[in-house]
């Protein structure tokens, strides 16, 4: 597997450095430990949003640092949660005194590292609230698993909670908004190919030419089961049906439909999936009020996609529409 990199061990450092150079108007990049903060942070009086996780999901999270979204992003090694010694200074750097929300994808590593960091930041006098994102319906949410993973829905949580913070909501209020998004968003993904972690050098899994992997996460881990390749319309049903079932979407409800590429699938194919997903929602009488199509929560160069549905209400729609200005998501300004 060839990669446009220099040394597997410097991938994250160099990539984040380049990111900082390309978006010097929006972000400051700290090194050693590495984290990315919004230019001009802390914003006086504003609740700050911090997220992070393993690298390899770009533009998540650093691409969403900026006005109306994150105040800081903390990139770990590829597919490895960041450590407290990165999360703590990132948290301190953006706290205006109004408190900090940690948006944490539900993985054991992320949870433990953010937990530790939050404790230590609290000990330093910073009010920290953590919000756990666990939108992946592919994983059974039971006592016998680590619980549902946080996947594509994370970007929706970050955008909407970011808008609430930007308009001046309190720490509790922003956390409430974020939790409201988490309650109302579900996701499921498919892989047509595995991906190769730079330091590993071989694909995370291999699929035959007529196989796809259903229910994948965003770390190149194998999914729930492997099936024979199908057409895009059939695959779309396989992903969307469990999402709608779990959310209990009823006729007349308004939703945001998010078709997310895993990194290596052409945009044109994402629109083919979007087309069928929108048709299915229309057949069920749901109204697609907002859409997002593109590579936002990726798994390196994996081929495949995920479909997320967020149940909207007026409040969430207003916050979704609020201006945002980050390297990877921008509107209204």
């Amino acid at each position: 597997m060839k990669k446009l990199i220099n040394d597997p061990r410097s991938v994250v450092d160099e990539s984040v450095e380049g990111f900082g150079m390309a978006h010097a108007d929006l972000v400051d990049v700290h090194t050693d430990p590495i984290f990315v903060v919004r230019k001009g942070a802390p914003v006086a009086g504003k609740v700050a949003l911090v997220s992070g996780g393993g690298s390899g999901h770009e533009p998540l999270h650093a691409g969403f640092v900026g006005h109306g979204m994150l105040d800081a992003a903390v990139p770990g090694a590829v597919f490895t949660s960041p450590t407290p010694d990165q999360i703590i200074p990132a948290t301190a750097a953006v706290d205006s005194g109004a408190g900090v929300i940690h948006i944490v994808k539900n993985y054991t590593g992320d949870v433990l590292n953010f937990e530790t960091a939050a404790e230590m930041a609290q000990a330093e006098g910073i009010s920290v609230r953590s919000v756990l994102v666990n939108d992946d319906v592919a994983v059974e949410d039971s006592l016998y698993t680590a619980g549902r993973r946080g996947v594509g829905g994370t970007v929706l949580v970050e955008k909407i909670a970011g808008a609430a913070a930007e308009r001046g909501d309190s720490l509790e209020a922003v956390a409430g908004v974020a939790e409201g998004v988490v309650r109302n968003v579900r996701t499921m993904g498919v892989a047509l190919s595995g991906c190769t972690v730079p330091h590993a050098g071989v694909p995370s899994f291999e699929l035959a030419d007529d196989e796809i992997e259903i229910g994948i996460g965003i770390h190149g881990e194998p999914g729930r089961h492997r099936i024979a390749m199908e057409g895009a319309d059939a695959i779309t049903s396989r992903l969307l049906d469990p999402v709608l079932e779990d959310l209990g979407i009823k006729a007349g409800e308004e939703v945001l439909l998010f078709v997310n590429g895993m990194g290596g699938t052409p945009l044109s194919e994402l629109y083919i999936v979007y087309r069928r997903a929108a048709q299915i929602l229309a057949e069920r009488g749901a109204k697609v009020e907002r859409s997002l199509v593109g590579n936002y929560v990726t798994s390196l160069e994996m081929q495949g996609c995920s479909i997320s549905v967020l149940r909207l209400d007026d409040e969430l729609t207003t916050l979704w529409d609020a201006p945002v200005h980050t390297p990877a998501l921008r509107w209204g300004m």
Binding site: P33, G54, G76, A77, V78, F79, T80, S81, P82, T83, P84, D85, Y107, T108, G109, L112, N113, E115, T116, A138, V139, E140, Y144, T145, A146, R149, V197, H199, A200, V202, S204, F205, G217, H219, G220, E221, P222, R224, H225
Partner: protein, 216 residues
């Protein structure tokens, strides 16, 4: 006489060597049921331990383990970082300022380490995690202690039991950590964290003078 700081430093040094030697093997284990990073994470973490050891040589076994805990916590990341960080920190606390560690202290430290992992990770025996290496290790250590074994014997028993424990994870269905997402598909693969735990405990025994070619 028990084990001194030289033992602790040697333990960490052997650990770093083993993590580097088994890096690809641990990555491969993690690729099968996880996300291909465990070997890389552990190797990176123990390199950091070695750097810290060189910078500020510790004066007691407890200080050495505390230094390791801090380096692991800040450099490993993922699930293993906080778990091992907590384990080494609790062990360090259990050892206190003692310059010399006897069998009792050692068994206590192992128990503290295991309890730290369980406290953080909430995994039970049989969940297919590193607990499946640490719990048998603690039990074996306690048995040797009751039977009057010395520090070296305690560590040897722990290492032996951890290795067996790691192997017992092979058929298990994971219920904690990333492998749990796979459900039934996680069976038939060794848990990478249990495998690295066995290596680390083997390093402890080897450092104490218990002969084992596998660790050298």
């Amino acid at each position: 006489m028990g084990l001194g700081v030289e033992w602790a430093v040697q333990w960490l040094t052997l650990s770093a060597r083993l993590m580097s030697e088994h890096r690809e093997e641990l990555i491969a284990l993690d690729r099968a049921i996880g996300d291909s990073d465990h070997g890389e994470n552990m190797d990176r973490g123990f390199q950091a331990v070695m750097e810290k050891l060189a910078q500020t040589p510790p004066e007691t076994p407890g200080a050495a383990l505390k230094l390791a805990a801090m380096a692991l916590m800040s450099k490993v990341g993922g699930a293993a970082g906080p778990l091992y960080g907590t384990a080494y920190l609790r062990a360090a606390t259990a050892l206190g300022e003692n310059a010399d560690v006897d069998a009792v202290a050692l068994a206590g430290a192992l128990t503290a380490a295991r309890d730290g992992i369980v406290a953080r990770g909430k995994a039970e025996l049989g969940d297919k995690t590193m607990v499946d290496a640490w719990s048998p290790a603690v039990e074996a250590a306690d048995e040797v202690l009751v039977a009057g074994g010395d520090a070296v014997a305690v560590l040897a028993a722990a290492a032996e039991a951890a290795e067996v424990g790691a192997v017992t994870t092979d058929p298990l269905v994971a219920r904690k950590g990333r492998a749990s997402y796979l459900g039934e598909r996680s069976a038939g693969h060794r848990d990478p964290g249990a495998a690295s735990s066995a290596l680390l405990l083997r390093a402890a025994a080897t450092a104490a003078g218990f002969p084992d070619g596998a660790a050298e």
